[in-house]
């Protein structure tokens, strides 16, 4: 956001900008700003409003103001902390896999080889599969303990099939989500890699840096900005992973694969407690903002200049 405001300021305060043209510019962007503002404010304020009501879908017309009780219940629910931990594990796990895997894939795809164009398109393909579909494919075709590919492989090696979604539900979901986001990370990191000045690599080669040193001292610093972008964008989306959980584990067993988003859904639509769900939603918004502030502090400076 800081970058964007600076962009607008420099645009408007350029040598050509007079008070008049600045006013005209503000006037012209105002419809877009107002639309975005309304789009955000209306649902947000409705959620805030509901979060202070005792509002159960099974008892329509019985809504009444109950203050912070919804928040109290949501925050003291043992499921909340489990969901919070799961959310963090999910985000960190997927980020780790996609960045390490994405860097490795980008390094491979950067090498010249036959059929490069087609392979690059294939690598991007998972990104076009919608989350429900890919989660179902993983659930039924790979991880199913009876018919799944992994089960067949295990049996082929004389091992007992492992029921991924029952015994390692969160890990399985991390795998599925990471598979979806790997192409995105690969793509961004690949473009970063391709923009690296070849002469820098040659210079370091002449300086006696081997492949590992070249990667650590030249390639990785060059890619740091792209990695920052990947972390920022993915974090935003990974905090709200939902479809993959819904179609595979339904948050279970117990709360083992429930994240905050899924907990809010369960509260409001499975337990019909709209008030409690709204309170959870507001808490999720606050947590997301805390994460955003930390992220911008820690790595946002990578994006400047």
């Amino acid at each position: 956001m800081a970058d964007r405001s600076r962009f607008f300021r420099s645009e408007l305060a350029g040598p050509m900008a007079t008070a008049h043209s600045r006013a005209a510019a503000r006037f012209m962007i105002s419809p877009a700003v107002l639309l975005l503002l309304g789009w955000m404010i209306v649902p947000l304020s409705m959620t805030v409003y509901f979060s202070f009501l005792s509002y159960n879908l099974l008892m329509p017309g019985m809504e009444e103001f109950i203050g912070f009780t919804n928040y109290e219940f949501f925050l003291t629910d043992p499921a909340f902390f489990e969901a919070l931990t799961n959310t963090i594990l999910l985000v960190v796990g997927v980020l780790f896999i996609t960045i390490v895997g994405g860097t490795a894939l980008a390094l491979l795809l950067d090498q010249p080889f036959w059929g490069q164009g087609i392979v690059r398109i294939l690598v991007i393909a998972p990104f076009f599969v919608m989350p429900t579909v890919s989660a179902l494919v993983w659930k039924n075709m790979f991880m199913n303990p009876v018919n799944g590919l992994f089960a067949h492989m295990a049996k082929g090696m004389g091992l007992e099939p492992f029921d991924f979604l029952a015994h390692a539900p969160l890990f399985s979901i991390i795998l599925i989500v990471a598979w979806q986001w790997l192409p995105f990370a690969t793509l961004i990191l690949l473009t970063a890699l391709q923009s690296l000045d070849q002469e820098q690599l040659e210079a370091s080669e002449m300086d006696g840096a081997n492949f590992g040193s070249r990667f650590i001292y030249i390639v990785l610093p060059h890619m740091s900005r792209a990695i920052t972008v990947v972390i920022l964008i993915q974090t935003i989306f990974l905090l709200s992973v939902f479809a993959e959980i819904l179609v595979t584990t339904n948050g279970g067993p117990g709360y083992a694969s429930t994240n905050i988003t899924y907990l809010v859904y369960a509260q409001s639509l499975l337990q019909f407690d709209v008030g409690g769900g709204s309170a959870g939603g507001i808490i999720a918004v606050i947590l997301a903002n805390i994460v955003a502030i930390f992220l911008m502090r820690m790595i946002g400076k990578n994006l400047e200049a």
Partner: protein, 353 residues
């Protein structure tokens, strides 16, 4: 001893041969300049010496050691790139010390060598800066510093001044010449600018299309070019070429009013066309009723270059001294100094001797 010897060095990209069996010896401590038009293979040749391009065939030896298949880092060479190729996220100090750090030298030694190099290049006050905060000339100095710190046997420069503005280019040229005098190491320098070649080189190698056209000291090439290409490439402004006809013991030049110039050289049979070369400063002009038309004049202060259109339609450049330049459109009579003519075979472009 750290001379560089190329023996029948060949470079092919697939089926395309770009360097055709080059034989060359660069003596220890010599400043050798590869010069030629774009695409002549001079950079490729340099990169082959550096080890950045594989040598398809032939042999490269540095200091008597065959390095044809040796890694770039182990050849005892350091290279200065046209785009500087500094590591953007490292400070000037780290940039210069990187090579030693990679080879596991102790910190104290690295520090000593970096400060020595920064003293030579006057970079002391910039050591903590990142390349981004430096001007083009400073960046190129850091890049040279990075080469010095490694203490190589041979320095390689790949068009190091092309990205600098004209004034800075002259300064850096002098600085590189001074550096060579101070360090005394073997240096190989690639440029397409013949002024750089003339001013810096002990030995110039003129390349064209992957072949060496001529090797020699700057003045040798200037005074005694082997062929039309070298004659035209060395010297600024470049030599004028007009058509002439061989007759007995003389060459008749239509462009200069059919004047016959006597010569002792072995001329081809009478009536055969030859190419006559004259340097711009060896032609004098005098106002006349007819002769050549003045196209335009460039005043450079001390000298002026007058562009003439001869009656034959050939264009020549004449260097004149003094303030008075002939007016555009007027007629002048160009008369070249008789002993300053270079004659070339019109077919093979070889010099007639």
């Amino acid at each position: 001893m750290s001379g560089v010897t190329l023996t029948k060095a060949v470079k092919k990209y697939g089926d395309l041969e770009v360097v055709h069996g080059v034989d060359l010896t660069v003596e220890h401590g010599e400043f050798c300049v590869f010069v030629g038009p774009s695409g002549c293979g001079k950079s490729t040749l340099l990169r082959m010496i550096a080890g950045l391009e594989e040598t398809t065939d032939g042999q490269i030896a540095i200091g008597g050691r065959d390095v044809t298949a040796v890694d770039p880092a182990d050849r005892g060479v350091a290279m200065v790139f046209q785009t500087y190729a500094l590591y953007p996220h490292m400070t000037v100090e780290e940039n210069m010390g990187f090579g030693l750090k990679m080879n596991g030298h102790p910190k104290a030694e690295i520090e000593a060598k970096v400060s020595e190099a920064s003293r030579i290049l006057k970079l002391d006050q910039y050591l903590k800066r990142k390349p981004k905060a430096l001007s083009g000339g400073q960046r190129q100095r850091v890049s040279i510093g990075r080469a010095i710190v490694r203490g190589p046997e041979v320095f390689l420069f790949d068009e190091p001044l092309s990205n600098l503005d004209a004034e800075l280019r002259v300064d850096m040229r002098v600085e590189i010449a001074r550096l060579h005098k101070d360090i005394g190491a073997t240096m190989i320098y690639v440029t397409h600018d013949q002024v750089e070649a003339m001013t810096l080189a002990d030995k110039i190698v003129v390349l064209r299309a992957g072949h060496i056209e001529q090797v020699g000291s700057p003045m040798e090439l200037y005074a005694n070019p082997d062929n039309k290409f070298v004659a035209g490439f060395i010297g600024s402004p470049s030599m004028n070429f007009v058509e002439g006809l061989a007759s007995s013991g003389a060459v008749v030049v239509p462009a200069f009013g059919n004047k016959a110039f006597k010569t002792d050289l072995a001329l081809p049979s009478e009536g055969t066309p030859v190419t006559v070369g004259v340097r711009p400063q060896d032609i004098s002009i005098a106002p006349a009723e007819s002769g050549a038309e003045v196209d335009l004049t460039e005043q450079l202060g001390g000298v002026a270059y007058t562009y003439l259109i001869c009656p034959t339609g050939e264009r020549i450049v004449v260097e004149t001294k003094g303030v008075e330049a002939p007016a555009s459109g007027s007629q002048v009579w160009p008369s070249p100094a008789e002993d300053a003519l270079f004659l070339f075979d019109a077919e093979t472009e070889k010099r007639l001797r």
